[in-house]
Amino acid sequence: MPPAIETIALTRRFNGFTAVDGISLTVAPGQIFGLLGPNGAGKSTTIKMLTTLLTPTSGTARVADHDVVEAPVEVRRAIGYVPQMLSADGSLTAAENLLLSARLYGVPPRVRGARIAEAIAFSGLEEFAGKLVKTYSGGMIRRLELAQAMLHHPAVLFLDEPTIGLDPVARRAVWERLQALRRDYGMTILLTTHDMEEADVLCDELAILLEGRIAARGNPQQLKADTGPEATLDDVFVAVSGGTMQESGNYHDVRQQRTTLRRLG
């Protein structure tokens, strides 16, 4: 079975600035893979190249066994995508948003109704399906966006910071659904996050990006064990990133989070 995602020396430059610098990684089918890193590390740029929104400057990437440059339409057919920003249309209802997705993905009319019903049940929005999305809470919108992204049963699902700005309950609801997608549909999931708990709970495999390069790679247990006894993922992150994060606002966040976690014991 070919890998779900495979990149070789994937690179993207913007006017002399190298956002992604020769990333090579392989994601096996059915894995939940996490890309970690501070803001500006190249996580979003990597996702944009894998989802065909951005053309690589050099290197190659294959998703669901299709080349992102040579066969972008085949790649798009095989993937689902939840951008970091709000991507459900607030002036439409959940059902209308789902109908639009179903039509754009060419879900055949025979199964369209069943698929939309399935997606609404998946998102737990049965009672709100006819309401305008702009009246939803952040967690409901995220669940709807997940439902829109899984409607056509993609082989690979990409999520950019899927739980950013959500409260703990809503965050957990998203995690459960991602695990369900892997379990029930065998989807491969690649997500970016700078939430260490999310990475720890959800991901089988992690890559930590720094300045466009992979600074560390492995499963969460192994990464923690390599850093030291009783190390948390935050410790891993700090150990890997060293003093190179001065330009990012996240150093402060990581330190604060780490202190909080220590206090909680």
């Binding site: 944009k48 989802t51 065909t52 929104l53 951005l54 339409v73 798009r76 057919r77 993937i79 995508y81 951008p83 970091q84 920003m85 709000l86 991507s87 459900a88 249309d89 002036s91 439409l92 209308e96 109908l99 639009l100 997705s101 039509r103 754009l104 993905y105 060419g106 305008l132 829109q148």
Partner: protein, 256 residues
């Protein structure tokens, strides 16, 4: 090919649900035509020097005002697209396997539907002012076609500008700068033949001129097209296809 039109239809249908839900927008759009026809038109009817081809000045300018309201609403379509880009909706559309041209056409058709609403409003205002209108189905079909095509041209033009400038502030500036000159450099409220040569040259290249020409023929009792409908529709259709091709190329750049 079928998939292409189904995808456009999906985008247009979603936009239609939005239009249906927001009738206040339609009401606010009625204000401009009412002002132009009810005030400007009433006063300017007394100017006898403008050659109108045998119809009253008010009747002469009515198609111009419909074309103007089509232009003014469609030309700001790009703002909505920039808004969708800032949210992440554009990114989601572009990750779908839908053809880029189909996405652009879907947006243009939605603008066309909004344009048809404008037409209904201007018909009502004109009828209230006692302007002699053509009510035959064939004439109204021509008006509908012209309004659709005109809206498609201006909204796609607007989308192209949005793809280039990418921010709302810059777009607003350009939108403001474009609309009035396009209106004045056209045959909307005075015929080409009384324009100075340089203005006439601009007006010939202005798509609004061809839309007004169609409407003047098909909307007004006794109104006649100066260029002939085949020329009008031919110019507009070619222009729209060219813009569609350009916009389909530029639209994916919005996701970067």
């Amino acid at each position: 090919m079928l998939a292409f039109f189904l995808q456009s239809g999906a985008i247009a249908a979603a936009e239609l649900s939005k239009i249906r839900r927001d009738p206040t927008e339609l009401f606010s759009r009625a204000v401009q035509p009412v002002l132009w026809l009810g005030i400007f038109g009433q006063v300017f009817s007394h100017v006898r020097d403008i050659p109108t081809g045998g119809i009253s000045y008010l009747a002469f300018m009515t198609p111009g005002i419909l074309a103007q309201s089509v232009l003014f609403s469609a030309i700001f379509y790009g703002i909505a697209v920039i808004w969708e880009r800032d949210l992440g909706i554009v990114q989601k559309l572009l990750v779908s396997p839908a053809n880029r041209g189909a996405l652009v056409l879907g947006k243009a058709l939605a603008a066309g539907l909004r344009g048809l609403v404008q037409a209904v409003i201007v018909y009502l205002v004109a009828a209230l002012l006692g302007i002699g209108l053509r009510w035959e189905a064939s004439s109204m079909l021509l008006v509908a076609l012209g309004v659709m095509l005109g809206s498609c041209i201006f909204s796609t033009f607007s989308l192209i500008i949005a793809c280039i400038v990418k921010t709302r502030e810059r777009f607003m500036g350009i939108g403001q700068v474009l609309t009035m000159p396009m209106f004045f450099a056209s045959n909307a409220i005075y015929p080409l033949q009384i324009m100075p040569g340089w203005l006439k040259t601009i007006a010939i290249f202005n798509p609004l001129t061809y839309l007004v020409d169609v409407l003047r023929h098909a909307m007004i009792a006794g109104g006649r097209s100066a260029h002939g409908l085949p020329v009008d529709f031919g110019v507009m259709a070619l222009l729209f296809l060219a813009m569609l091709a350009i916009a389909a190329r530029l639209y994916p750049g919005l996701a970067r």
